[in-house]
Symmetry: C2
């Protein structure tokens, strides 16, 4: 009896580690000290920061991982995870510094590990974020064959002076929506149930309503808004930003609203990608349930003071970025919900 017979293969783990090391080293930025393989990752903070505030977030990919397993495509979930994390700290104006992952699988498969880490490394590189460490755990009996869980941790930095307070948001501020590319990483438990159980589809099934195979459609990447927004953030043009993840707009926008402020959002002011209307029809989902579960086509909401909106919109147009004016902040009774929808969804 040895460790390999108990389901843990240390030589396969070593193989996987070699590949991770090679991929990760390509993401190294100036701050990284040493390599991968020490007990911890090292990152020297640049001297340019006067009063650095570290901004950190932990996220998972959720049951979107089941779509990766079902399709055998493991190259995009790593990017989903990194982008989710980058967007989270972006809402506080933070520049990403470094990222670590946690990957747990039932049986170590160096090829799957490589695909996942390749996706993470690519997304880290695009965001200027170094992949400096992580834990790859083989946990026999915990995960079904071919399945794994994946979580990520990011650290970024922002000057204390430029940290926005949530009460920076005030009546009259405009709400601009930046489009999502699909479900991003939320609502998958419901989506999978509807698509694979109720409708009985397979990942390879072509769905005319979305003009795509359902597996590929559900694997669309979680978009990263950092490259697009970093100049805007540096200029201090925004009152706040909300990353629309689990809980949808009503679950996330209130996180940046002060007491007594309400976001009035007009449905129909932005296009809702067909995957959402398809899921709505499949499950006969009510409007409120849809809005609480999915991002409904909105990946990020920018709260913009009236005096800045013209400059911001000009800048976004110049970069050919799509955006939609979806509503406004107004004063309200603090006992009322902080997000009010008017109009109807465009389907």
């Amino acid at each position: 009896m040895d460790y390999a017979e108990a389901g843990v293969d240390i030589s396969l783990a070593d193989q996987a580690k070699q590949r991770i090391r090679r991929l990760a080293s390509r993401t190294f930025t100036r701050g990284v000290i040493g390599g991968i393989g020490s007990f911890a990752g090292l990152f020297a903070l640049d001297k340019k920061w006067r009063e650095p505030v570290l901004v950190s977030s932990a996220d998972g990919v959720g049951t979107k991982l089941k779509i990766a397993t079902a399709t055998g495509i493991h190259s995009s979930v790593g990017g989903d995870l990194v982008n989710h994390c980058v967007n989270d700290i972006l809402t506080l104006g933070a520049e990403p510094l470094f990222f670590l992952d946690y990957l747990a699988m039932g049986k170590m498969d160096p090829n799957i590990v490589e695909q996942i880490v390749e996706g993470m490394a690519r997304a880290c590189h695009s965001a200027g974020c170094a992949l400096i460490g992580g834990e790859t755990a083989e946990m026999p009996g915990f995960y079904a064959p071919g399945e794994y869980d994946l979580a990520g941790f990011i650290v970024g930095v922002v000057e204390r002076a430029s940290l926005k307070k949530t009460n920076a948001v005030k009546a009259g501020d405009l709400l601009l929506a930046l489009p999502s590319t699909g479900l991003h990483t939320n609502g998958y438990s419901l989506a999978r149930k509807l698509v694979f159980e109720h409708a009985g589809l397979h990942p390879e099934s072509y769905v005319a309503e979305v003009s795509n195979k359902i597996g590929a459609e559900l694997l669309r990447p979680h978009r990263c808004y950092w490259p697009m927004l970093k100049t805007t953030v540096a200029r201090g043009w925004l009152s706040a930003m909300a990353h629309i993840t689990g809980g949808g707009i009503p679950g996330n926008l209130p996180r940046v609203l002060p007491r007594g402020a309400q976001a009035e959002i007009e449905l129909g002011t932005w296009p809702v990608p067909p995957i959402f209307s398809y899921l709505a029809t499949l499950g006969r989902l009510e409007r409120d349930e849809l809005l609480r579960t999915f991002n409904m086509g909105v990946g990020m909401i920018l709260v913009v003071p009236l005096e800045n909106h013209r400059a911001l919109e000009t800048e976004l147009k110049r970069r050919r970025e799509k955006f939609y004016r979806i509503g406004q902040i107004r004063k309200c009774d603090p006992r009322k919900p902080q997000v009010a929808f008017t109009g109807k969804l465009p389907f």
Copy 2:
């Protein structure tokens, strides 16, 4: 059909979040800005740091979690995780700043979540480390009922000037072992197989060889060495430290050894807790397999220059800390293994 029917209950998640917030806020140190609930955790770096290097690590608890599930005791695994992370960055001399966790379960159980987070918060508090965020994910169909996965992420800081280089280790340095309290968080896949499958025991079974119920014995906490070592680290008395985790002494000690240095370790110079000899007997495990899989009673190895060992040993004795001189560093052919064992295990 709604999200709750798909197995995701947002109100239970909210309940769990309330409890997490309360527990986490008790760990807040001076650097923490704001509370839990924003898109990210905020930590202001103290101005005392001249050239701060951030030291980070990600870890999991591994299949020790199965013991928690089997015994229904979820209050210690959180501490195991925090302590594992704190020890990892301690090896680089880093002071812990903040911690985030990732907790994924099939069905959200606020009571289990509370027990886990209570354990994390307690360990964070002891280490002076703030629990500033995390992700609690409900992933139906991913985890068996009552099961969960748990990972953690820590960030600490060290002055660039006091960062030890691995080639600080030199021939003649002494190796001091600090005792572990048991398996810590490694070797559980093998241990579980031997105990529950081969021997057919239940968590409640009393095992005379270890004078304990096997479940309780296997749940013994992963010890945190930071409170004990922080003064020693600040004094710069050590050449290096190795945290003995997955891969045992031969898998971890080489991480801090320069090329051409070999650690010669004499077996029998430290007491091996009875759980290890019990597992060895159950599985007829060979010496090398044991040493590669388990910590064998050594949780941390201190590499001490000859000129400091007297001062260090006096200090450890004064604090009534147990330690064992287990070997020495010598020069060797760079093609030879970096750890050589002599003598035999004391059983």
